[in-house]
């Protein structure tokens, strides 16, 4: 199987879906002539032309709404936000238009659209460019929230998202674009709403998505050296949650740590923990712990930034606490 980057896997998904369906188009800032701020759309302008690879002004609210309107009359827009930080300017269109249209029209008008772009912190980009908003979007009925961690999942989930009839918030990891992995060629679809066990284990479940998946896999390696077998479950989709996969794993290990990059308060992991305690309270041998980003705006200084971020060491420490090993 070819080994390619997460970035190129996304590019492949876009290319294949645009070739498959004339109604699919890509719109956003710098997606065409510039070849994408993060080069996800490299080569697409040359292949599909300016009618389908559409450069916009810096006008997030406007082009998000243009995408929703185009979807309401049958097109399948992929709207790229240069980063999800900038998508805050467009949130009225994502929440009040895209997420609500089917319901308030009594099922007459759906919005098959993908909003995509990088989310989370990179390196030393400070407070306005280092944020995780998945909990905010996952809060909204009508939206689906997808966050792939690997190149194969990035391709398979983006293809599924484009074919889906509902509005999808598709969050890529800014620090994942250069990550390499095996990616199936051609038709490779990963279903939305399905988690995956990325590593099997017995003593504790590490729940994660996007960037924290690699951190949990690293943590599992560290735990193994101390004789602890950790299972790593990649949620892949935040909404709808794959409850079955989560509960199956935790029922087996009886202990769990939820790792997420975003802030602690009302984070996506809080919902996961709530589901666990409500559904399988009697299976638990310890409280479920969460490892999250620090509840502060992201600082610029690299030592402070490191202190604010999730790390494999922090996940290991939490795992030991739920195992009563520390």
């Amino acid at each position: 199987m070819p080994v390619i980057t997460y970035r190129d896997a996304l590019n492949q998904a876009l290319r294949e879906e645009m070739a498959r369906d004339q109604d699919v188009f890509l719109m956003g800032e710098e997606v065409g002539v510039y070849q994408g701020a993060y080069k996800v759309s490299r080569g697409l302008l040359e292949e599909f032309g300016p009618n389908r690879i559409v450069d916009t002004p810096i006008t997030e609210l406007g082009f998000a709404g243009v995408g929703v309107g185009a979807a309401m009359v049958g097109l399948r827009p992929v709207i790229e936000f240069m980063t999800w930080n900038f998508a805050l300017l467009a949130i009225d269109q994502v929440i009040n238009s895209a997420a609500k249209m089917r319901y308030m029209s009594g099922g007459q008008v759906g919005v098959p659209i993908v909003f995509r772009g990088p989310a989370g912190a990179a390196l030393q980009l400070a407070a306005q460019h280092s944020q995780c908003f998945e909990a905010m979007y996952a809060h909204i009925p009508g939206l689906k929230v997808v966050m792939p961690a690997t190149p194969a999942d990035a391709k398979g989930l983006l293809k599924s998202a484009i074919r889906d009839d509902d509005p999808i918030v598709f969050m890529e990891g800014e620090m994942l674009y250069n990550v390499k992995g095996e990616v199936p060629e051609g038709e490779h679809l990963v279903p939305i709403g399905k988690a995956e066990v990325k590593r099997a284990g017995e003593h504790v479940t590490l729940l994660c998505y996007s960037k924290t998946v690699a951190q949990c896999l690293k943590a599992a390696e560290l735990l193994e050296t101390e004789g602890v077998s950790a299972e790593v479950v990649d949620l892949r989709t935040i909404r709808p949650l794959d409850l079955e996969a989560i509960l199956t794993s935790v029922s087996k290990t009886h202990r769990a740590v939820m790792a997420e990059e975003g802030w602690n308060f009302a984070g996506a992991g809080a919902q996961v923990v709530d589901e666990i305690q409500r559904n399988i309270f009697d299976e638990l041998d310890a409280p479920v712990l969460r490892v999250t980003g620090a509840d502060v705006p992201m600082p610029y200084n690299k030592h402070l930034e490191k202190a604010a971020k999730v790390s494999p060491e922090k996940i290991v420490a939490a795992a030991k606490r739920v195992l009563y090993l520390d």
Binding site: P57, G65, V66, A70, V73, R102, Q108, D166
Partner: protein, 337 residues
């Protein structure tokens, strides 16, 4: 001889059309009066914004469209819905929140939709639907059709970022969009000159390299003529237009707002009521010999009966089933491409 005969035939058809427009305006007026009544009886809940005084705008603009064109509008949209041909029964039932309403009772007064007529919503966030119509225009150009995307909004929406962002893109890409600003002078209770630095709204179009016109919204003939020109520009090759249609709301902003409130005087409202679009149009038809008192009375009676029928239908219709709460949040499983 043949020419005269055909001209006479055309005149008859035109006369019929003109009377049909009068009927549409009367229908909106009586529908809205009835909706106001139903609101005070507690049969309609939430917010309810009436269109009384602005009837010529919806009727005049929508008279120039084809069934395949797409329309979005604001939360003051009962008039547009009726002018587009959505049955009064379905609109009234939606206001009543009933299962027989356009959105099965889940949208209400502010969210009337009929996808089969390209009526893509009453929208509740000021200015938020302007980019949506722009996207519809984008889709029509993308598919090389000659459909037109029409967007109605109030003058208060022009100070919203969505207006600027959307019209700029429509200008850059020369989209088949018609932006209709219904300038009724007040955004809720804030007068235009307290909210907008430049008084001439149509002039905003110059920032977007867009055609523009200022139209007397109380004069149906003027509205139709301006809209006809805008539609020609939009159809092919496509070019957008901003129409500033000057009109006046004869009633309060919503049912909770008295007719003139603290922000305008009774005298001002009375002065504007003298230019009632329905009266002006009826007088014009009478002057041209296309309407007499008997025909007018007959129309009024017909329209009143239609509105009463819509009211009774809505009143007697069932509420949505409890399971309806959970439907239409997401697409049915198994759909998609």
């Amino acid at each position: 001889m043949a020419t005269t005969k055909s001209a006479r035939k055309t005149d008859t058809r035109t006369a019929e059309k003109y009377r049909a427009y009068l009927r549409q305006m009367l229908l909106i007026r009586h529908f809205e009066e009835k909706a106001g009544e139903a609101y005070s009886l507690g049969k309609i809940g939430g917010f309810c914004h009436l269109y009384i005084g602005q009837e010529a705008v919806a009727v005049g603009c929508l008279s120039q469209l084809r069934p395949t064109d797409a329309i979005t509008t604001t939360y003051r949209e009962h008039g547009h819905a009726l002018a587009r041909g959505i049955p009064a029964r379905a609109v009234m039932a939606e206001l009543f929140g009933k299962a027989t309403g356009t959105s099965k009772g889940k949208g209400g007064s502010m969210h009337i939709f009929d996808a089969s007529l390209g009526f893509l919503g009453g929208h509740g966030i000021v200015g938020g639907h302007i980019p949506l119509s722009t996207g519809m225009g984008f889709a029509f150009k993308y598919r090389h059709t000659d459909q037109v995307a029409v967007c109605f909004f109030g003058e208060a929406a022009i100070n919203n970022g969505a207006f600027h962002e959307a019209l700029n893109m429509a200008g850059i890409w020369k989209l088949p969009c018609i932006f209709i600003c219904e300038n009724n002078r007040y955004g809720m209770g804030t007068a235009l000159d307290r909210a907008t630095a430049t008084w001439n709204i149509a002039e905003r179009a110059s920032a977007y390299d867009m055609s523009r016109e200022v139209v007397d919204g109380q004069d149906l003939a003027e509205v139709m003529a301006a809209m006809e020109r805008a539609v020609v520009r939009a159809r092919r090759p496509s070019a957008p237009t901003l129409l500033e249609v000057r009109t006046y709301r004869f009633v309060g902003h919503s049912m909770s707002d008295p007719i003139h409130g603290h922000y305008r005087t009774k005298e001002e409202v009375e002065a504007h009521r003298k230019r009632d679009p329905i009266v002006l149009w009826a007088e014009k038809l009478k002057a041209e010999g296309l309407l007499d008192d008997t025909a007018m009375e007959k129309l009024e009676a017909e329209v009143k009966a239609e509105v009463q029928d819509a009211y009774d239908f809505a009143d007697q219709s069932p509420d949505p089933e409890p399971e309806e709460l959970w439907r239409d949040v997401y697409a049915p499983v198994g759909e998609g491409r």
